[in-house]
């Protein structure tokens, strides 16, 4: 029997998964845009983004636009690879589940 893949626990959290999926489709995104798309609270969003940053899956930078601070996030190569592996594992698990 083939070994079942394990799902990456950092990505498996619903909000973190949503954030990585969102960031995979854009060059970089502002904190407020991510909040708008996920509907999460500031505190929760900040905490989940920090976990992704600690794992090296996203990179953060701050800048000022018209004297207003902006926090931008982008997905790293490590994050992209992790999300891709996670999707593959998910498909494998689902395939096995449906088949078995």
């Amino acid at each position: 029997m083939p070994e079942m893949p394990e799902l990456n626990p950092v990505i498996h959290g619903k909000l973190r998964l949503a954030l990585l999926s969102l960031l995979s489709g854009v060059d970089e995104a502002e904190f407020t845009w991510l909040r708008e798309k996920t509907g999460a609270t500031d505190g929760n969003l900040g905490a989940q983004l920090m976990k992704l940053e600690e794992a090296g899956y996203v990179a953060m930078k701050k800048r000022f636009v018209l004297r207003k601070p902006q926090t931008l996030y982008r997905m790293t190569e490590k994050g992209r690879a992790a999300l891709s592996e996670y999707v593959d594992a998910l498909r494998q698990l689902l395939g096995a589940g449906i088949g078995g």
Binding site: G25, D27, G39, A40
Partner: protein, 198 residues
């Protein structure tokens, strides 16, 4: 399907929906169609009053500046995507081409009649809409391109009496109605989007 599989399927759906959200193609662009539609009306009526040489360049410049200012304000809110850059490039290139060609023809006095001007104009707008629709694989915008191309052909053959109505109808449906429908769809989509909890 057991509970575990159901949860995994939910995760997969979440990824797909967020990917689609991130790559949302024409988000917030409906207003540009309406704005340019109104600008075309202003320019056309202005030139109809006899200020042909200045009406188009000045109105188009004003619309371009206004579009640029609004985009600048919104840039912080909407992230940049490769698709967004591609679509932006198509419209910018079309705008610059149209500006150069129509200005040169207008100022040189070699614009022999309004039919030729509208045919060139409609052909270029049709080109930009078609290029966008192919990039986005969006059928509705291709119909918009067909409408502009049809207008380009019709104005070559129609009489002077129907030239203005043909142009106004093309602008109304190709810009104002199309842009309005996009704006309504964008509003609906914004209302439907729910929260994702950790």
């Amino acid at each position: 399907m057991n509970a575990d599989n159901l949860e995994l399927t939910e995760r997969l759906k979440l990824i797909e929906s967020m990917l689609a959200e991130g790559r949302r193609r024409q988000e917030g662009w409906g207003w540009t169609f309406v704005l340019w539609g109104v600008a075309y009306y202003i320019a056309f009526f202005w030139s109809w009053l006899g200020r042909f040489a200045y009406a188009w360049p000045m109105t188009m410049l004003a619309a371009a500046v206004l579009t640029g200012l609004v985009f600048r304000r919104r840039r912080g809110r909407n992230p940049e995507t490769t698709m967004g850059r591609a679509i932006g490039s198509i419209w910018t290139a079309m705008g610059v081409s149209m500006f150069i060609v129509l200005c040169a023809m207008g100022f040189s006095g070699r614009f022999f009649n309004g039919h030729a001007m509208i045919a060139v104009f409609a052909g270029m707008v049709g080109l930009a809409n078609a290029a966008c629709s192919m990039t986005l694989r969006w059928k509705a915008q291709f119909f918009c391109a067909l409408l502009w191309w049809a207008a380009a052909v019709v104005v070559c053959y129609c009489s002077d009496a129907v030239l203005l109505p043909v142009f106004l109808v093309a602008v109304f449906f190709g810009q104002i109605v199309f842009g309005g429908v996009m704006m309504i769809a964008e509003m609906r989509r914004r209302k439907q989007s729910g929260a994702v909890n950790a």
